[in-house]
Symmetry: C2
Subunit: 228 residues, 2 copies
DNA sequence: TTCCTTGTCAAGTAATCACTTGAAGTCTTG
DNA sequence: CAAGACTTCAAGTGATTACTTGACAAGGAA
């Protein structure tokens, strides 16, 4: 064996990245940052932690090179360092879903029963977007829609949904999507819409997966949603 | 926010996998297991740790579902739980190489200067294997060769290399490969061969990458190597 | 049975980690 | 300049982690 100490140091280097992904709070941060850049205190409220604690977790992600910062006035915005980091997180989530025994139960505890909700695949949504017989709504917060959304989707944040139902036709088939397979926004939206008598289903995963698959996305433009 | 506690628990579940990859010693274990199953004390010597400590690390990998065990008499053999785990490890290594600042230096400290060594890509090796103008040698321990190797390669463990040079022709172009891009066996083999006047280069990565790329592999058969 | 090999468990220690609280930077605005 | 908003730093606490040592369990061979 060449130089055990150097080998250990090298693998400790690789493990830095594993360590960064080895805390639930940091995992939540990455999951949110996948939707676009965020300031520290937005992130803090999102993960339900103090600003100081969130800042320290972010420092740790920074040290592992997984995120980057951008200063804008008094705010500091964090972003994922590259698309690769998003891929790594997605793969880690898949591996966890396949191999961690209790994950099914944990997911069910958080997401509730999904069996009653219809969901459609990316490929099918793509097809129906082309034929135009479906209204796609992005139920994430407006800022995330602005940072990037499925081309043709309208922004209709979950928080505003109840107030803006008037504009929707009950004949139109509605497809809601949000941050990904472990995000509850689209589920909540579909449940609410169905309760009110709309035809609604959810995209089986979220925007990041759509973008990663190379399907058409748009960013920037805020296309006020709600009206059909 | 639906149920913060349930959400935290779910992400802690994902983070279990991150934690499992968050120690250099466990990373080394995964890297070795990528070459095939191993008993606990083989693994312990490989990573230079006590058997007790190695066992505990393996328990942790087991809890995260990344490895599986098989009992054989008084020995217990560990294997990666699925090919996905190998993919995850490879992607994590890539992300670390791209984003962890000091990794270059750590890799150089362990691997030494590689600039002097010629290396060839998988695609090129594939082509030259077909035309047959090259001798491919697998310099990993014989057990790893037996567990799976590049089709057409001969087993010539680094430990035996010096003793078995007689059988090699100085006209033949030799390509050595080992466990992967961060493995020193092939480097050492190429250095030794060149010092003795052979034409030698290394495959730029190792057997797991070859297999993952879907290129032809063989397992089981022990094709005694050395003679051309 | 007893002995031997292999692996796990349990207890102990020093180091690291996640969070809290309160203070100190840093940039913008008045 | 001072005041205010946002972020980071520093110190402290309880929990977890990586390793060691020594004891125990499970299977094989005499």
């Amino acid at each position: 064996m060449a130089d055990q100490a150097a080998k250990d140091a090298l693998f400790d280097g690789f493990a830095l990245v594993g360590k960064a992904l080895g805390s639930g709070r940091r995992a939540e941060l990455i999951d949110v940052l996948l939707q676009g850049e965020r300031s520290v205190d937005e992130l803090a409220t999102e993960i339900g932690q103090s600003v100081a604690n969130t800042s320290q977790h972010l420092q740790q992600l920074l040290r592992a090179g997984l995120v980057r910062t951008r200063r804008d006035g008094t705010r500091i915005h964090y972003t994922l360092a590259s698309a690769r980091v998003g891929e790594l997180w997605a793969l880690l989530r898949t591996v966890a879903a396949e191999h961690v025994g209790e994950l099914d139960r944990l997911a069910q505890d958080y997401l509730g029963d999904r069996d009653a909700l219809e969901s459609i695949s990316r490929a099918e949504l793509r097809k129906r977007l082309r034929t135009g017989d479906v209204l796609v709504v992005d139920v994430r917060p407006a800022a995330e829609y602005a940072a990037g959304h499925i081309t043709g989707a309208q922004s209709l944040p979950l928080a505003d949904l109840a107030r803006r139902l008037r504009g929707l036709s009950k004949e139109t088939e509605v497809v809601a999507y949000c941050r990904g397979p472990y995000c509850v926004y689209a589920d909540d939206a579909v449940r609410l819409l169905r309760r009110r008598g709309f035809h609604a289903s959810r995209l089986e995963d979220g925007f990041p997966e759509w973008a990663r698959a190379g399907l058409p996305t748009t960013s920037g433009a805020l296309r006020a949603g709600g009206r059909t």
